[in-house]
């Protein structure tokens, strides 16, 4: 996994609350056996009309969204299905961080395993971000600080081991495999 240290980017804002992973990527695109290319289907039913043409009013289709790597969304982002295709699609599209007042447990977990940073902020910060689409933010993972263009600096929580893995590009599978001696001992006891 590519290390994550700092990120500076403008935001794309999706103010809707409770955006579930079926919206992030509908199930009909899950009959794939690889992780590649899922960005095309990101928010498919919001982004394209029935004939597959881009809906010009959807934020990801607007020119100013190009190159944005931070998604700001309403509370409880990523609820519902455990499909890891959701963070895969967001990453493939170019996002590296999702900011919300709440992020669903399984989605958060899946994101951390793939280098998509879940950033949980307070209501006031979220409110400001939702009202200022395109704001340029800085994310400093080592310090756990989100920097706003107003000069405001907001700290965000992140589990210690996940932060260590993201900062150093450590892969958790390697870590678990390094503990196989202990696992074996546990299996002998059980």
């Amino acid at each position: 996994m590519e290390p994550f240290t700092t990120l500076i980017s403008r935001t794309v804002v999706l103010p809707a609350t409770d955006i579930d992973t079926d919206q992030i990527i509908p199930a009909r695109f899950l009959t794939t056996t690889t992780r590649a290319g899922l960005g095309t289907h990101l928010f498919a039913d919001w982004r394209y009309d029935e004939r597959g043409a881009p809906r010009p009013d959807f934020v990801l289709n607007r020119p100013e969204s190009a190159g944005c790597r931070i998604l700001v969304a309403g509370r409880n982002f990523g609820c519902g299905s455990s499909r890891e295709h959701a963070p895969w699609a967001l990453l493939d599209h170019g996002f590296r961080a999702v900011v919300s007042t709440g992020i669903a447990d399984i989605f958060r977990n899946n994101s951390l395993k793939n280098g998509l940073l879940p950033v949980i902020v307070d209501e006031a910060t979220s409110g400001w971000l939702l009202e200022h689409p395109g704001a340029e933010l800085s994310v400093d993972l080592a310090a756990g600080i989100l920097g706003l263009p107003t000069g405001g600096r907001v700290s965000f929580p992140i589990e210690a081991f996940a932060r260590h893995c993201l900062l150093n590009g450590v892969d958790e599978l390697g870590y678990l495999l390094s503990r196989s001696g202990e696992i074996e001992a546990y299996e002998r006891r059980a």
């Binding site: 809707a16 579930d20 919206q23 009959t31 794939t32 455990s82 499909r83 210690a160 958790e172 196989s180």
Partner: protein, 451 residues
């Protein structure tokens, strides 16, 4: 295996790992990439349900699987299981079925086990007093390779349900009411324990319906303490422990229930006697009302307005008598034998409304066979419904079974998200009884009027 520290999560050993065709291919690819094998194939069980068709011809009749990419996923699971030595209850196996139906059916789901699967409805298995939760595909690879997962300890939420459910009010109505109270994020970061007299009175199928939808309140896992109902259910199961091993297991299971006086991080109390059949009106399972009620009055809330517009409803509109095009009886929430029995009981001697489509999809091939032995298939077919092979079917619209754009479906499944049952589909979640009553009248119907 190892407790958590401030710097590192706990290493949790997994006792049962269930896998299916949709969330496992990339995990096996990771194993190949790293040159590692499956650590405990005998603790791993595979089946196919999500993208697997439910049409008999495509399962048994030699007809090609209509969705080519789904056919590839199915073949890939067959190859992966063969190469890595994992038992597969494959396409034509008489034990195949929805992953959360077959685990308990076989007796592999047992109290005190840690159970994971690349599917959020793994919470279902908590009904026997197991710690069971959904994981992503990277974690599926972790478990395949090491039988372990990195986990932080969750918070605890007690849902205490006193009283007794009235006739015509089911476990599905109870869990919908609970989600309505908690909200779709109310359980985030928590494991729920369902407790109280109304929970104790539920049979195992009903307990599974309740635990199944824990994730719809944001909780990764939901549990019910094992008791005599649990042990009686498990005793006859083919893969439950037998003889002396059964006695040893039973002794261990009896020590599992929560200590009296235990403190939870949060508690919710409700009385089952106050409930009536529940039905969702919106685009998440928390948008739910009693069937005699109405969609809430207009409020200044973008999510509310969006849900109304997607569903084609108006604020304040009664939900009863809403015309319906499709009724789906199936899914890991409500496709066990007792669900089919209760719907068939209401449909016996009646016909579904003209122009309405009803799909009945048993939770497993075993459930299908048992239902056929009782003649339930005849009841459904004579009523005008379609009787299919087991699978996830219309719950998630990725296997050929979908609700057409703009149409209304009353479904016994678990999610009413936009497009969940097919692009543009409008889903109302309800119990098997409500689904059957609605099928008869062609509009949302309180099943108590037909019992």
């Amino acid at each position: 295996m190892a407790p958590e520290t401030p710097a590192t999560p706990a290493v949790l050993y997994v006792d049962l790992h269930l896998i299916h065709e949709v969330t496992s291919p990339q995990a096996f690819a990771l194993l190949r990439e790293r040159g590692v094998s499956v650590r405990r194939p005998e603790l791993t069980l595979a089946t196919m349900d999500h993208s697997t068709p439910t049409r008999t011809a495509q399962i048994f009749g030699g007809a090609p699987i209509a969705i080519e990419s789904a056919a590839r996923q199915i073949r890939e699971l067959e190859v992966n299981c063969a190469q890595f030595g994992v038992e597969l209850l494959g396409l034509t196996s008489e034990l195949r079925g929805i992953v959360h139906v077959i685990g308990p059916d076989l007796g592999l789901t047992q109290p005190g086990k840690t159970i994971v699967c690349g599917d959020s409805h793994t919470s279902t298995h908590g009904a026997v007093g197991a710690l069971a939760f959904g994981i992503g595909t990277t974690e599926v690879a972790h478990v395949l390779a090491t039988q372990c997962l990195l986990q932080r300890k969750p918070r605890t939420l007690a849902v205490e349900v006193e009283g007794a459910l009235q006739a015509g009010v089911t476990a599905k109505d109870l869990i919908l009411a609970i989600i309505g109270r908690l909200g779709v994020a109310g359980g985030t970061g928590h494991v729920i324990e369902y407790r109280g007299a109304a929970i104790r009175a539920l049979d195992m199928d009903e307990r599974m319906t309740v635990c199944n939808m824990s994730i719809e309140a944001g909780a990764r896992a939901g549990m019910i303490a094992p008791d005599e109902t649990t042990y009686e259910y498990l005793a006859a199961r083919p893969r439950a422990p037998k003889g002396a091993a059964w006695e040893r297991s039973l002794a261990a299971w009896r020590a599992l229930p929560t200590d009296s006086g235990a403190r939870f991080d949060r508690e919710l109390r409700l009385d089952a006697g106050d409930l009536e059949p529940m039905i969702t009106w919106g685009t998440n399972p928390g948008m739910v009302v009693p069937i005699s009620g109405a969609i809430p009055e207009q409020r200044a809330d973008a999510a509310f307005a969006r849900a109304l517009s997607y569903m084609g409803f108006e604020a304040g509109q009664p939900i009863k008598d809403q015309p319906v095009n499709v009724v789906f009886l199936g899914s890991c929430t409500n496709a066990r034998l007792s669900d089919l029995r209760s719907a068939a009981g209401l449909l016996r001697g009646r016909r579904i409304a003209r122009g309405l489509t009803m799909l009945v999809v048993p939770g497993s091939q075993q459930v299908k066979r048992q239902a056929e032995a009782e003649g339930l298939d005849r009841v459904f077919i004579e009523a005008g419904a379609e009787w299919r092979e087991s699978g996830c079917s219309m719950c998630l619209g990725m296997n050929g079974d979908t609700v057409p754009r703009g149409e209304y479906a009353v479904s016994t499944s678990n999610r009413n998200f936009e497009g969940r049952q097919g692009a543009g589909a409008r889903t109302l979640l309800a119990s098997p009884l409500t689904a059957a009553a609605t099928a008869v009248r062609g509009r949302v119907t309180d099943p108590r009027e037909l019992l």
